[in-house]
C-alpha cells in the first residue's frame, strides 16, 4: 500500500512540475487523437446517417459488420496499417510509418466504426415525427437530414466523444505505427506502457492521471453542451 501511496504522491509532483517527457506525450496524444477523431467524424457521421436513413439490400449485414468493427483489436488495425505503410507495402513510398500521421490513420480506422454506430443509433432512436414534420413544412432531403442532425446532435456529439475516447486510450496502434519515439510519436499510453515496464511506476501513474483528466474534461464538455 505504501508503494501505491508514495507513487501517487510522486506522480502528483511530476504533474506539478510537468517535465518535457510528460508534456510531449500529452501533446502528441492530444494532437493525434484530435486528428483521428476529426477524420472519424467526417467519415463516420455521414456513414451512420446514411445507413440509418436509407433502406438497401444487405443492410442488416452492413450493420452487423459495423458492430463487429467496433470491437476491432487495436493490434489488428496496427498490423494491417503497418502492412500498407511499411517500406515494402503499397504506401511505403510515403514514408509515414513511425510518424504521428500513421497513428492518426490507425486511430481513424479504430474510431470511425464507433462514431458511425453511435450516429446510427442516434438516428434510429430519434423521434419518428421529425422527418414527416420537416417534410410537411416543405423541407427537401438535405434540409430534412439537417433538421434530424439538429434534433439528435447530443447523440452525435456523444458518438464523437466516444470515438475520441477510443483513440486516446489505445496502445496497440500508437505502439505499432508510431514506434514510441521519444518526443515525437510517444503518446501517453505508450509512455505509460514503456515507463512502467522500466520500473518508473510513478511516471506511468502521472500520465495515467493526466489521461483520466482528459477523459473527464471531454465528458464535462459534453454535459456542458447538453445543459445549454
Amino acid at each position: 500500500m505504501d508503494f501505491l501511496v508514495s507513487s501517487f504522491v510522486a506522480a502528483l509532483r511530476l504533474i506539478g512540475s510537468f517535465p518535457p517527457d510528460v508534456r510531449d506525450a500529452v501533446r502528441t496524444s492530444l494532437s493525434v487523437s484530435t486528428g483521428a477523431t476529426v477524420f472519424a467524424a467526417v467519415f463516420g457521421i455521414p456513414l451512420g446517417l446514411l445507413i440509418g436513413l436509407t433502406e438497401f439490400p444487405l443492410k442488416r449485414i452492413v450493420v452487423t459488420i459495423l458492430n463487429t468493427m467496433m470491437a476491432l483489436p487495436t493490434v489488428v488495425v496496427g498490423l494491417v496499417v503497418y502492412g500498407f505503410l511499411s517500406r515494402q507495402g503499397p504506401l511505403g513510398i510515403l514514408g509515414l510509418l513511425f510518424t504521428p500521421t500513421a497513428i492518426v490513420i490507425g486511430g481513424t480506422l479504430l474510431a470511425t466504426p464507433i462514431v458511425a454506430n453511435y450516429s446510427l443509433a442516434s438516428v434510429r432512436g430519434a423521434d419518428p415525427r421529425i422527418v414527416p414534420t420537416a417534410l410537411t413544412l416543405g423541407a427537401g432531403y438535405l434540409r430534412v437530414v439537417g433538421a434530424l442532425i439538429g434534433e439528435v446532435r447530443f447523440g452525435i456529439l456523444a458518438a464523437v466523444i466516444a470515438g475520441f475516447g477510443r483513440v486516446v486510450s489505445e496502445v496497440g496502434v500508437a505502439m505499432m505505427l508510431g514506434g514510441n519515439i521519444r518526443g515525437y510519436s510517444r503518446t501517453m499510453t505508450t509512455a505509460i506502457a514503456l515507463e512502467t515496464s522500466k520500473g518508473e511506476f510513478a511516471f506511468g501513474m502521472a500520465l495515467g492521471i493526466v489521461l483520466m483528466v482528459v477523459a473527464l474534461i471531454a465528458n464535462l464538455f459534453l454535459n456542458f453542451l447538453q445543459q445549454r
Binding site: R129, P132, T136, L137, G138, A139, A147, E151
Partner: protein
C-alpha cells in the same frame, strides 16, 4: 370551385391489411371538410397521402389538375403547397420563433418579413410575446397552437389537420376552431379529422366519413362515388 384533389382508385395496404380503399374522391378548393370515422377507419392514412408524405399502394392522385408522380423531385413542390398538422405535433428544439420560422426559411423568407409573419401568426393563435420561449417548455395547448401558427405562417393552399382539437382545453379549442373556420374564407382548403360529431356543423364544414378504409359518405357538392361495400355499409 376548382378541384384541389382528385383521387382515383386509391388503395393503401400494409401487408394483407387494406388501410384505405377509395374508388373516387374529389376535394374542392377553398372549402372545409371534416373527416370522421372510428379508430382504424383510415383517416390518418388518407391525410398522409393527401400531404404527399406516404404514397398509395396503387391508384392516382391529381392535385390542382396535375398528376402526382411519387418518384419525382416534383413531390417537394407539391408538399410546399400542402401542410399537415399532426395530432401530436413535433416542435423542434429551440425557440418558438425557430419553430414558426422553419418553413419560412426554406421558402427564402428572411429578415423583417419573416419576423412580421411570425408575429402575425403567433398573435392569431393567442401567443403574442412567446417568440423567445423555449418550445420544449410549453404546455400541450401552447405547443398545439405553436404548431398551428407554424403551419399558418406558410399560407398553404391546403391545410390538413389531424385531430387538432383533441387533448386541449376548451378555451384553446374555441380559439383554434375560430381560426380554422376562417381559413376557407381566405381561400385555404381545410381537411380536418375529428371525433366530435358537432364539428361539421359548428365549422360549417362538409363531411367525409370513412369506415374500414372505405368512403361511406362523400362530401356533398363534390364528386365522390361509393364503393360497393361502402354503399352497403
Amino acid at each position: 370551385m376548382k378541384a384541389m384533389y382528385r383521387l382515383e382508385s386509391i388503395r393503401k395496404t400494409y401487408g394483407s391489411i387494406i388501410a384505405l380503399d377509395l374508388e373516387e374522391l374529389t376535394i374542392a378548393g377553398g372549402r372545409l371538410y371534416t373527416l370522421t370515422g372510428s379508430n382504424g377507419a383510415g383517416k390518418s392514412t388518407l391525410l398522409n397521402i393527401l400531404a404527399f408524405l406516404s404514397p398509395p399502394t396503387s391508384g392516382e392522385i391529381l392535385y390542382a389538375g396535375k398528376r402526382v408522380d411519387w418518384n419525382s423531385e416534383s413531390l417537394e413542390a407539391f408538399r410546399r403547397k400542402v401542410t399537415l398538422l399532426h395530432q401530436s405535433p413535433y416542435l423542434f428544439a429551440g425557440s418558438v420563433y425557430d419553430n414558426v420560422a422553419f418553413g419560412l426559411k426554406i421558402r427564402g423568407i428572411r429578415g423583417k418579413e419573416q419576423l412580421r409573419i411570425v408575429d402575425r401568426v403567433l398573435d392569431g393563435v393567442g401567443l403574442r410575446g412567446f417568440l423567445r420561449r423555449k418550445a420544449r417548455e410549453l404546455s400541450g395547448g401552447e405547443a398545439q397552437r405553436v404548431a398551428m401558427a407554424r403551419a399558418l405562417a406558410l399560407e398553404p393552399e391546403v391545410l390538413l389537420l389531424d385531430e387538432p382539437l383533441a387533448n386541449i382545453d376548451r378555451e384553446t379549442s374555441g380559439l383554434l376552431e375560430t381560426v380554422i373556420a376562417s381559413l376557407p374564407l381566405q381561400g385555404t382548403t381545410v381537411v380536418m379529422t375529428t371525433h366530435d360529431p358537432h364539428h361539421p356543423d359548428r365549422l360549417r364544414g362538409e363531411s367525409i366519413v370513412l369506415e374500414r378504409g372505405r368512403l361511406v359518405s362523400p362530401p356533398p357538392g363534390s364528386v365522390g362515388s361509393l364503393t360497393r361495400e361502402g354503399a352497403a355499409g
